[in-house]
């Protein structure tokens, strides 16, 4: 009877424990420590310094993914909508939501062994926070104060650039994350440059991250992550098929092929928006009817369904539904007949010089060029001649709308915008601020609630100076031996929780990983 009672108690305890820890328990296999995860990325260079990242730039995603191996944030949003304590263990705010207080986790060490202090948090976030938010310290607490309510501060701090780091002499950064940079290698140079800091990796073709044995959240399962940069999509797919890579970035046109070949493919929620922006410095863009012709002639469904083989979504809003919750309220009508009627009422030559209108593709990559060509085809059907050109030099999102005086006039820009914040307010502020460089778009929202975000977005879209085209998710090809792949739907990979199911791991565990029994029982334990 006693044994039955004990067994029952164990069962109940386990059940209760599982109720509050993880909804899914992998009963088949236990996580292994060890192994090298081979990652291949399209980006030819990355920056691991959050201070240098430009909001909206397409490189933001890769930069953030790799930086999250080195750095932690104060809080993190999980897939169930819960904010999880990271470097901050507690937080509170005043009734007006203007003053937030964070209690720092104690005994957290940087990768060089030094202790994390509130001063580090303040100096990390100071250059990253918007001007309206001031950060200071009080004892072991960090205070963020704002002149207006910031109900979404946790969303803000759990995404984007808001990592905690320490600047070392020489301007290199160190973090408290699960990995440290062991080496960066420049392929193009005969003399390989090696570095252990994160500042000099921007031009590297290969990066090697090794496990941070003393990570506060527990040593990651993987011994090492090898990242190869600048590989074309097809080469990445081949490497995955041949077992030369474990994790690759799949381009949308290869997703169907990868799926048909039974490769593991993961897709995020839409993370990148492609849109058209009329250049307000050009007189032609002031014609509301012309803008309406463009809006009515754009066939977004074909762009998403045919051009991108159903791997993208037609976009009617600037922010995606998963971020704002109100994107469905915006609709973009396609009506070619009406567009033709409106075009017929316009002058034959839209530009004063009689030249065709010019669309400049501001974002690098074949996809943006394809979309530009499709836009030209769509508007041509309505009777508008559009010449597509690409940028000679890649521009960042920050200055995409600035017109170089040496360039010939451009009527429209095609822009790719990578979402980087989990706060709809902040994302919209960053986007409108980037757009506001040449026109009078609102650079800040009138309030901090969702109504203000909606109003601002509505205002940005109603004049049709900005025309959303498609929203594109991220696609990842994953080798079959990658386990506990639990990314966020907004694209965070969480590689510290990933483990490799390979036979070598069993032997490596005893040789390379002197991890305690407790660690193996609670793998990747988080607070």
């Amino acid at each position: 009877m006693r044994s039955i009672a004990s067994a029952l108690l164990v069962a109940i305890s386990l059940f209760l424990g599982s109720t509050f820890s993880a909804p899914f328990v992998h009963a088949a296999k236990k996580p292994h420590y060890g192994g090298v995860l081979r990652v291949e990325l399209r980006a030819s260079n990355v920056s691991l310094d959050p201070r240098t990242w430009k909001p909206g730039s397409l490189s933001f995603g890769a930069d953030e993914k790799l930086a999250s191996l080195l750095f932690d944030r104060l809080v993190e949003l999980d897939n169930y909508g819960h904010f999880q304590p990271m470097l901050a263990t507690e937080w509170s705010h005043d009734a007006a939501l203007k003053r937030w207080q964070f209690v720092l986790r104690s005994n957290v060490k940087f990768s060089d062994g030094s202790l994390l202090s509130v001063g580090d948090v303040v100096s990390s976030l100071q250059p990253l926070l918007p001007d309206s938010q001031q950060i200071s310290s009080s004892g072991s607490n960090v205070i963020i104060q704002s002149s207006s309510p910031i109900p979404d501060l946790l969303e803000e701090l759990s995404s984007g650039r808001y990592f905690i780091y320490r600047v070392q002499p020489g301007n290199s950064l160190i973090g408290t994350g699960p990995f440290v940079v062991a080496e960066s290698v420049v392929n193009s140079s005969s003399a390989n440059a090696s570095s252990s800091s994160s500042d000099s990796v921007a031009k590297s073709n290969r990066l090697r991250f090794i496990a941070n044995e003393d990570c506060w959240a527990g040593r990651p399962f993987l011994n090492q992550i090898d990242v190869t940069l600048g590989l074309p999509p097809l080469r990445q797919l081949l490497d995955l098929q041949l077992g030369r890579a474990d994790l690759i970035e799949l381009s949308p046109e290869l997703v169907r092929r990868a799926t048909q070949e039974n490769l593991r493919v993961w897709s995020s929620s839409p993370t990148t928006l492609y849109f058209l922006k009329f250049d307000d410095s050009q007189p032609v863009s002031s014609d509301a009817k012309l803008r309406q012709v463009f809006s009515l002639s754009l066939d977004r469904s074909t762009m998403a369904g045919v051009l991108l083989q159903k791997q993208a979504e037609p976009a009617s809003a600037l922010l995606p539904q998963w971020l704002s919750g109100y994107a469905f309220l915006f609709t973009m009508e396609t009506n070619l007949e009406r567009a033709k009627e409106l075009r017929a009422a316009l002058p034959l030559n839209l530009t004063a010089s009689g030249d065709p209108l010019r669309l400049r593709v501001e974002t690098s990559g074949d996809l943006a060029k394809l979309l530009g060509d499709r836009v030209a085809i769509n508007v041509r059907q309505a009777g508008v001649m559009l010449q597509v050109s690409g940028r000679v030099q890649r521009r960042t999102a920050e200055n995409f709308s600035a017109t170089n005086s040496s360039d010939s006039p451009v009527g429209l820009h095609l822009i790719g915008w990578r979402y980087s914040s989990l706060s709809p307010r902040l994302e919209l502020e960053m986007l409108s601020s980037a757009l506001a460089r040449v026109d009078a778009s609102p650079s800040s929202l009138s309030g901090s609630d969702l109504d203000s975000s909606y109003s601002a977005e509505h205002k940005l879209l109603e004049e049709q100076r900005i025309l959303p085209l498609i929203a594109l998710p991220e696609f990842v090809g994953i080798s079959s031996n990658v386990r506990d792949w639990m990314p966020s739907r907004w694209g965070a990979w969480h590689l510290a929780d990933v483990w490799l199911d390979t036979p070598e791991n069993a032997s490596e565990k005893s040789i390379n990983n002197p991890v305690s029994q407790q660690q193996s029982v609670v793998p990747g334990a988080k607070p």
């Binding site: 164990v10 305890s13 209760l16 009963a27 169930y80 904010f83 507690e90 509170s92 739907r489």
Partner: protein, 408 residues
């Protein structure tokens, strides 16, 4: 049993540290070893509206001093049940209350915003839609709160062409539940929004409390079953069951839980035997009496009556994935039922998710199966699914009816 050592001082220390406005819970439950207590302290902070932030969880192993010998088994059993009940009551009732507070605030705020819209139509028809993971019951509770706050005299019960429609929609973002209101205002619509945190949803209970997967054994045999499908005959008393083996297809009629064989037909055999033989059964979407059998390189149509008549053609179609659509009588929402696709030496679970949930989201309901799920199918009514399972304990191939049940 009487214990000398008090556990409360430690617990009280935690309570003292908790911020103002926090709710702290201390749960004592006996450790399985029988000589210690596990003390779990939960502090639930109402921080920034993120209500269910678990501030501290303390697990203490305290060895109590007993001054009496007791019958461990019976006392521990009763205590276990009591403590477990207490834990569930405390946690879930608190979560529900916090959810009610947060959502009610949001609904009232939305009603206030809608009422403040200038040139608002005085009387309108309320259209209420839920596109979030909120359960339909919770959604209806919110609707009632909204009507109460809005004033039922300004709403009409019937919709006609002349009645403007006030559209309320519940949406979900990564961190928030968003209530959107499209308010008729003259010839236009005004949009008003209100939010409350997703975290206030009772953990994984918004859906699963009211939905339950049930399985009913329909058939079992030693010979391999590749696929099976059941179709209700609409009279509720009898159903037709098709069972595909490696060599034959059998037609059964199921009455009162007993299956009776009506007909068996040999199926076209592939030239090369395969260890991974696959087949798929489904009912024709447009002709209810026609079933379609898909084999490796053949597709067969068959008329379902007292006998089976197969009409096969050479055609290559890929077998479907192990997931099917399932409808619920509880809330008339479409659900996706899939197995968790373990390897064939491991028992699977059937997982239920709404079409809006991602694969990483917790499932709304789960059902343990006695072995790997080899095939899943659903008939045209999609109120039931049929699962083929290899029973790891008995070594038999079993066919189950899987249905969604309402209530607890």
């Amino acid at each position: 049993m009487k214990c000398k050592k008090s556990l409360f001082p430690k617990s009280l220390r935690l309570a003292k540290d908790a911020p103002r406005g926090a709710l702290s819970f201390f749960i004592f439950h006996p450790l399985a070893a029988g000589n210690a207590f596990l003390v779990s302290a939960f502090t639930i902070c109402r921080s920034s509206g993120r209500i269910l932030h678990l501030r501290s969880v303390l697990l203490l192993r305290i060895v109590p001093v007993y001054n009496c010998q007791t019958n461990f088994s019976s006392s521990v059993l009763s205590r276990t049940i009591l403590y477990s009940f207490f834990l569930f009551t405390v946690i879930f009732s608190s979560a529900s209350r916090l959810f009610a507070d947060a959502s009610d605030d949001a609904v009232r705020s939305l009603a206030k915003k809608v009422l403040s819209v200038s040139q608002r139509e005085r009387k309108c028809f309320l259209s209420w839609e839920n596109h979030s993971s909120l359960s339909e019951d919770s959604s209806q509770l919110l609707r009632e709160s909204f009507v109460e706050a809005f004033g039922s005299d300004t709403l009409t019960l019937t919709q006609n062409a002349s009645t403007p429609v006030l559209r309320i929609s519940i949406e979900e973002t990564v961190s928030q539940i968003v209530l959107t209101a499209r308010v008729p205002s003259g010839a236009e619509e005004q949009v008003r929004l209100a939010t409350f945190p997703r975290t206030t949803l009772p953990a994984a209970t918004g859906l699963s409390e009211k939905l339950r997967l049930e399985k009913t054994l329909l058939w079992q045999q030693r010979e391999p079953v590749v696929a099976a499908i059941e179709r209700d005959n609409n009279d509720g008393n009898e159903s037709v069951l098709l069972v595909l083996g490696k060599e034959a297809l059998s037609l059964y009629h199921v009455r009162n839980g007993a299956a009776e064989l009506y007909d068996t037909k040999r199926i076209p055999v592939a030239e090369k035997p395969s260890r991974d033989f696959r087949g798929d059964l489904r009912f024709s979407a447009d002709r209810p009496s026609i079933a379609v059998l898909t084999l490796d390189s053949k597709v067969c149509d068959m008329e379902i009556g007292q006998k089976l008549t197969l009409n096969c053609q050479d055609k290559s179609e890929k077998p479907r994935a192990l997931n099917v659509l399932l409808d619920s009588n509880c809330n008339h929402m479409p659900w996706i039922l899939r197995s968790d696709s373990g390897d064939r030496s491991v028992a699977d679970r059937l997982l239920l998710r709404s079409s809006s949930q991602s694969k990483t989201d917790p499932s709304a309901a789960e059902l343990e199966m006695p072995g790997p799920v080899l095939a899943l199918s659903s008939d045209r009514t999609i109120f039931n699914a049929t699962a083929v399972v290899f029973n790891l304990a008995s070594g038999a191939y079993e066919v189950y009816r899987i249905s969604l049940a309402c209530g607890n």
